[in-house]
């Protein structure tokens, strides 16, 4: 492990635990579901574990499991999974600056950037004094650990016990609703969020739940590109040197004065970000 700053590791691990707790709930139960599903198709018990370690992308793993019981077609699996996961291209574009200069942690951060890990790493900054690189590294690692444990449990349990845990996976929906609202309050323009919802609903209505992601992504990209002349000045007005600090710097919230945070690296967490995401005193 990269140990140029050994003292940074343990506080970063401790800071990474609270924001990933909702993921723990969601991933363990969704992982169990994925594991049970895979084994119920007739696949060996280790298949869900191997997928969780190497692929680490929930919806893609369900698709791959269903392909593993068909004829051997690795190229088809490659193309299908690329299309299913095409949305990850957006995550990379949004994290280009944040992952800069993170050395040996960078390859793993890129490898492990699933929906939930991106959501946490993008929206959460560690408390002051905690190394952001290590914080994001442990958020990623903990999330993958939860997923591997869930998938393995599901694979081992198989169809032995039908656990009545219907509804736990709503934690994922709730998490994304909260992150969406958080982004809404920070974003200097709400146009992007409105475009995201509308384009997705239009694509869902036209293409149905199994095929709407790619059309939705294309619609969003087109709309955001068309709106560039209106939106770019808004983002530029925040004086964002790096593109990711913009969402933090331009918040209209009362706690973080924009002039202060605009000049700092994202590492300097805003007080409300720390309070919102590390609220250990949850009542």
């Amino acid at each position: 492990m990269h140990t140029n700053r050994p003292r940074a590791i343990s506080p970063a691990l401790r800071a990474a635990i609270p924001p990933t707790l909702p993921i723990l709930a969601g991933f363990v139960f969704l992982g169990i579901t994925c594991g049970i599903y895979s084994v119920s198709l007739g696949l060996p018990w280790w298949t869900p574990t191997l997928m969780a370690c190497l692929i680490f992308a929930g919806s893609a793993e369900f698709v791959v499991a269903s392909m593993l019981v068909g004829p051997f077609a690795p190229l088809q699996a490659f193309v299908t999974v690329f299309i299913v996961n095409a949305r990850h291209l957006f995550y990379g574009l949004s994290m280009l600056e944040r992952f800069r200069g993170l050395g040996r942690k960078r390859p793993y951060l890129i490898f492990a950037q699933c929906d939930e890990t991106f959501s946490i790493n993008y929206s959460t900054h560690p408390p002051a004094g905690v190394d952001e690189g290590w914080f994001m590294f442990f958020v990623s690692l903990l999330n993958q650990l939860y997923w591997v444990v869930g998938c393995t449990l599901g694979g081992v349990l198989g169809s032995v016990a039908a656990l009545n845990v219907a509804g736990v996976d709503f934690a994922m929906t709730a998490l994304l609703v909260v992150i969406f609202l958080d982004q809404w309050t920070k974003d200097p323009s709400h146009a992007s969020a409105v475009v995201g919802i509308l384009a997705s609903l239009v694509a869902l209505a036209l293409f149905g739940p199994d095929g709407f992601m790619i059309p939705a992504l294309a619609l969003i990209l087109a709309a955001i590109t068309v709106l560039r002349s209106h939106l770019e000045p808004v983002y530029d007005a925040c004086g964002s040197e790096s593109m990711t600090s913009a969402s933090d710097t331009c918040k209209s919230g009362p706690v973080a004065p924009a002039s202060d945070t605009c000049e700092n690296e994202p590492v300097a967490s805003t007080p409300d970000a720390a309070g919102a995401h590390h609220g250990g005193d949850a009542r």
Binding site: P22, F99, G167, A171, A174, L175
Partner: protein, 109 residues
Amino acid sequence: MTSTQIILTILAAAAATVLTRALPFFAFPADRPAPRYIRYLGNALPGATFGLLVVYCLRSVDVLTGSHGIPEALGILVAGGLYLWRKNMLVAIFASTALYMVLVNLVFV
């Protein structure tokens, strides 16, 4: 499929996943600034992306049959309302999930 074929297929799927996650970093290396358009996308896409992910979570909800999406709507109202009120992510997520579980297991059976 044999075990070897299963492993090879999983490796192909893993390679495709890594490609979707790493492509932007190869296309725009860290040692020079990304083009203006790409930087603009990095600023403007997250809002839309989170909207897309919310819709993605709800893609299978059918408002015409079954429970008509009422448990999902109530769960989202509680999650959003609690978050805006208390500014506490964990409270909002756990309270709304608990409510949702009660609704789907006990009320809308």
